[in-house]
């Protein structure tokens, strides 16, 4: 059985030419009812490969043998874009794939080299950044550390702790997850050195909610227990606290160090006990 070879139906390719070549190779003869058959002239709307085949069937035989049905991967080839389009898309794809690799390489947890960072920022960032495609995809899920614990935040009026709002509160799912990310950002300072900018921005929401101009924003970390702990309940730790107030239109932030990050209190050394022997 003779199978019409893949690649002979491309735009501009001569069907009879390819069949003749095939026939010569297999020492058969080609007879075509229409003589010279041009693939381009046979392309039609819909599924061009099948259309082409339907029109060819019965018109061309190889040594008296009707060619077999084309393989499924032969047919689509007829619909390939022109060489110019393929070339243009190839360049675009290659450029994007390089940008993708650079985005991953320069957004990783391990940092990035100045060389790759410069190439990416000068060539690819103008396209990738606005489209939200400059991503590292470094979804570690967890390292079991403090930064991977759940965080929540509380904003209270500075002089009235009873007036407070908690986030995420009773929210669930992705909605709650967004508040936890905000809280984690304030605690870990992913965007600025210590999260102050984020905290100051978030406090403005607190001013409006609490109708005050002086608030205290606290981020708590819910540290899960180790597997060998006696309980499954998370331990609540204060990760970040700051007082934020509005004074004559300006927002001031006064960061308080969480107790866990303060140096241990030093007890004054006890006075040397006088030994009985030393007593005169």
């Amino acid at each position: 059985m003779v199978v019409v070879p893949e690649g002979r139906w491309g735009p501009g390719g001569l069907i009879d030419g390819s069949l003749r070549a095939e026939a010569e190779a297999s020492q058969t003869t080609v007879s075509g009812a229409g003589g010279h058959v041009n693939a381009r002239s046979l392309r039609g709307p819909g599924n061009p490969g099948e259309t082409l085949w339907r029109r060819l069937r019965g018109r061309i035989t190889l040594g008296g043998v009707t060619p077999a049905e084309p393989r499924s991967d032969d047919a689509p080839r007829a619909d390939r874009p022109s060489e110019a389009v393929c070339a243009a898309v190839t360049i675009a794809l290659a450029a994007y794939l390089i940008g993708l690799v650079l985005a991953v390489a320069t957004n990783s947890l391990g940092g990035s080299s100045p060389l790759l960072g410069t190439i990416k920022s000068r060539v690819f960032s103008p396209v990738l950044v606005p489209a939200w495609l400059d991503l590292g995809y470094d979804y570690r899920l967890t390292y079991g550390g403090l930064e991977d614990a759940d965080h929540d935040l509380t904003i209270a009026a500075h002089d009235d702790a009873s007036a407070a709002v908690e986030r995420p509160g009773d929210r669930r799912g992705e909605r709650a997850a967004r508040w936890r990310r905000l809280a984690r950002t304030i605690a870990s300072g992913n965007f600025d050195e210590d999260g102050s900018v984020v905290a100051a921005g978030a406090a403005r929401g607190g001013f409006r909610l609490l109708q005050v101009g002086d608030v205290e924003i606290t981020v708590d970390r819910l540290q899960p227990p180790e597997r060998n702990a006696s309980t499954l309940d998370a331990t609540r730790q204060e990760a970040s606290t700051a007082r934020i107030r509005r004074v004559e239109g300006d927002v001031q932030l006064i960061r308080k160090e969480p107790p866990s990050e303060l140096a241990p209190r030093l007890r004054p050394a006890a006075p040397p006990r006088s030994s009985p022997e030393a007593t005169p």
Binding site: G7, R8, G10, G13, L14, G17, A21, A25, P45, N47, D73, P76, R77, D79, R80, P81, E83, C86, V89, L93, L100, S108, L109, S121, V129, P130, A131, W132, L133, G136, Y137, D138, R140, L141, T142, Y143, G144, D148, D150, R171, G173, E174, R175, R178, W179, R181, L182, F191, V197, A200, G201, A202, R204, G205, G206, F207, R208, P224, R227, A234
Partner: protein, 298 residues
Amino acid sequence: MTDASVPRAVTPSVGDTWLTFWFTPAPVQPLAVARILTGLLGLLLAWSYASDLLEWFGPDGWVPVDVAKSWRPRWGMSLYDAAVTPGQVQAMFGGTVAALVAVTIGLGSRLASVVAAVLWASLLHRGPMLVGPADDCLSVLLWCLAVGPCGNAWSVDAWLADRAGRRLVDRSSWARVSWGLLLVHASVITLAALLAQVRGDVWWDGTAAWWLASRAGAIDLRAWYLTSEYLLNLVTHAIVAFEIAFAVSLWFEPTRQAVAWVALVAWPLVGMLAGEPLWGAAMAIFAVPCAMDDISRR
């Protein structure tokens, strides 16, 4: 194209492989399924913004425009910056939701995908500290879909064309480009996540699943893990093993469809175990066109 008089080489060249991979016309149905699922995922993610939208982005919200601008990298921009009143913020968000609905039902599909991708990127740039893995993946999915004729099947576009007596192509090279981009991203995202994970000790000592289970939103299997440390280790290593298998097997035709089918179940499961169920769903959507690979071969 191939010169008929020149005998073809037995081994395909790099150029042939590239052309075959990216430009062999592919059916549009897998892309249509990915489009519908992407639209639904987008609506779910948009829903998570909706209730707190003004609390975050409204006047005197928790994420003021000036602060968001100061965090953005160079070239970062957001159409939401122009929305300063509650009505403007809601109108902009309404436009984003409308674009996602259009993607879901396949109305002006390609244009809707581009508009949805632009508006979604704008929303993420408006509050980058609120963004999670599922948001990133949705952005990538929308851009990938915009490349191909994702609305040529199971869509309002197809229905309208049918009523008008027009026939939309059901195989296209652009569908193949879109399919290829989805495959590349599925593999790259998985590899990048895997590389980030294996930097942590917990993924080597087999305890990562414990810490995942203790996160809010995750399936809490700690009671089971307490009964057997081996089970804890097994779940941890299974996640890593699946990610390796997924990232690699997608590139080989004999294994592609099988691993994609496994991924349709495994990714949502990993997402639920990790407390990121929508990220798991997004990764499963990347696998959908590969799971329907037999349609491509037909």
